[in-house]
């Protein structure tokens, strides 16, 4: 007899329930306002660059890539870390739900909220920037959305591994490791989120450009890798705070 037949909630229903309630919590928290400020920064940058005679799409896209790296972990890492640090996970894991559904529920909640903010920023930059075509806007949106999912996956893993410093480590990883490595002209950059975002957007600087499917596969692989690390840790985690 399966778990579901014996009364456990299946992975998908459990994920969707948690997604719905996580969206509600994230939208009511302060983080959404911090994220909105982050989202406004590239638009402000494009505006200032345009006033100084610059503001080409290929130039403003770099701040957008960084934005995707900053906004998604704000929601994902803080929500996951708070769950562990505040011990509210005890309410979830004492229920008949698979543990991985807690991560997926948060990821599916963080993605649309972070995604809306990032897309709004892309559209703002497109409107104020110079020299971009309509198809570049579409590929730019697709790129930052794919990057948002990957950044969510990375931040979930770090928040599970190091709850107290999950957000900080995610930022260090993405901005101090992923971003510089993604910019160097060696094949190792394929393993970075920021390079693959540029590749999806068609501004990677690689000639001839790699096919789109390749970048999508890389991003899916990077996301799956980090999520797998998070799930593995979570499967047997006990998160004792030392109290007996």
């Amino acid at each position: 007899m399966s778990e579901a037949e014996r009364g456990a909630l299946g992975g998908l229903p459990a994920t969707l329930i948690q997604t719905r309630w996580n969206v509600r919590q994230m939208l009511r928290g302060r983080i959404v306002w911090v994220a909105a400020i982050f989202a406004a920064l590239p638009v402000a940058y494009t505006l200032l660059a345009g006033m100084n005679g610059a503001g080409q799409w290929s130039d403003v896209f770099v701040p957008l890539v960084m934005l995707a790296a900053l906004v998604a972990p704000l929601f994902m890492a803080s929500s996951m870390a708070e769950e562990i640090e505040e011990r509210t996970y005890t309410y979830l894991w004492s229920r008949p739900v698979p543990r991985w559904s807690v991560v997926m529920g948060k990821l599916l909640a963080a993605f649309p909220i972070a995604g809306v903010l990032v897309v709004a920023s892309v559209v703002g930059c497109y409107a104020l920037g110079k020299g971009a075509q309509a198809d570049e806007l579409a590929s730019g949106i697709a790129a930052v959305l794919a990057g948002t999912i990957a950044a969510c996956a990375v931040s979930a893993a770090f928040a599970i591994l190091v709850p107290r410093a999950g957000l900080a480590i995610t930022y260090i990883y993405l901005l101090a490791l992923d971003l510089p490595i993604g910019a160097i002209p060696f094949s190792i950059r394929n393993a970075t989120i920021t390079h693959q975002i540029r590749a999806v957007a068609g501004v990677s600087g690689v000639e001839p450009p790699a096919p789109l499917w390749q970048a999508v596969v890389w991003l899916a692989g990077i996301s799956a890798f980090w999520l797998a690390i998070g799930f593995l840790r979570l499967r047997r985690a006990e998160f004792s705070s030392g109290e007996k």
């Binding site: 329930i17 509600r24 229920r95 109290e243």
Partner: protein, 313 residues
């Protein structure tokens, strides 16, 4: 034991090199109310977390309704767990939080709201159900937690220190609610470090100390043992010297001490002592700010019970 709701067999739990519980074995019968008594750090929470699937035993086996709750998610559907900590989802209202927990326990979305309203009403939280949890008092948080663990009509309730930090009025109400739930045939395991709290809910208790079960059985037999040891009562009032000098003459009072605006009495007969304090306070119109039985007193009692032998049954 056939038909046991909870079966713990030779169970030990280590946190690294620190021992949480050691070689614990006991069973909980269906429909019983069992009190887990022990000082802070005794291993009560560890045992409870193993029962609800939050911790995995390092050695031995914990089964609930015949299944291991850490391994089998389905086993947790029949359990309602109220953790010791008071953290809740602050951005949600009480009703939303309880609905969330109902849905996660398998209550259909359409019925979850009604079930949550019912559970909150049962815990006396109807008026505050739409308020955000962020501003709740400790008592209100405890009631919300209890509603959340009752909302899916579990067959086993595991309540970890449900009366901690609750004011005396709320304490009586919560005890009444728990007793009402138990009267419906729900099996209840409840922990506390205060004997009087456990006594108010059940006669069947297990005394746990330093990760080991020291004694189990009827509360009166265990209380008799505990009461042999001097019991400390701290009375915070406006005239501690007067209270101390008046009660020092009582034959059951073995020692009187003073501590920052309070008198600390050591007595061999706590019931008689509480009675005499009440009589004195009323007769002399003394303003009492607090009346407590310090927790470390219980630790001393357990040391006394073990008699340095490390085990007592």
């Amino acid at each position: 034991m056939a038909g046991a709701v909870v079966e713990i067999a030779g169970c030990s739990k280590w946190y690294g090199h620190v021992l949480g519980v050691s070689e614990v074995s006991w069973t909980v019968r269906p429909g019983s109310v069992v009190g887990l008594l022990g000082p802070n750090g005794a291993g009560k929470s560890t045992l409870m977390k193993m029962m609800v699937g939050l911790l995995r035993p390092s050695r031995g086996r914990v089964t609930v309704f015949g299944e291991q709750p850490f391994e089998v998610a389905a086993a947790r559907r029949r359990i309602g767990y109220c953790p010791e900590h008071e953290n809740l989802y602050d951005e949600l209202s009480a009703l939303e939080m309880v609905r969330y927990m109902a849905e996660l326990s398998g209550v259909a979305r359409g019925s979850a709201r009604a079930a949550a309203e019912r559970a909150l009403d049962e815990m006396g939280m109807k008026e505050a159900q739409h308020r955000r949890l962020k501003g709740f008092s400790k008592g209100m948080k405890q009631r919300t937690k209890l509603a959340a663990c009752l909302v899916h009509s579990p067959e086993l309730l595991v309540l970890d220190e449900p009366l901690t930090g609750v004011d005396p009025v709320a304490r009586v109400e919560i005890v009444d609610r728990i007793r009402a739930v138990a009267a419906r045939g729900v099996t209840v395991v409840v922990s506390s470090h205060v004997l009087y709290e456990i006594e108010a809910m059940t006669e069947e208790i297990i005394v746990i100390y330093r990760g080991q079960v020291l004694a189990e059985g009827n509360v009166y037999a265990i209380r008799k043992l505990i009461d042999k040891h001097p019991h400390r009562i701290r009375v915070e009032c406006d005239r501690p010297r007067e209270v101390g000098s008046r009660l020092a003459a009582a034959e059951h009072v073995v020692r009187v001490g003073f501590d920052r605006g309070a008198v600390v009495l050591e007595t061999a007969d706590p019931d008689r002592c509480y009675e005499q304090i009440a009589e004195l306070v009323v007769a002399e119109n003394i303003a009492v700010r607090g009346l407590t039985s310090p927790d470390n007193n219980l630790g001393a009692v357990f040391d006394y019970l073990t008699g340095g032998r490390g085990g007592f049954r």
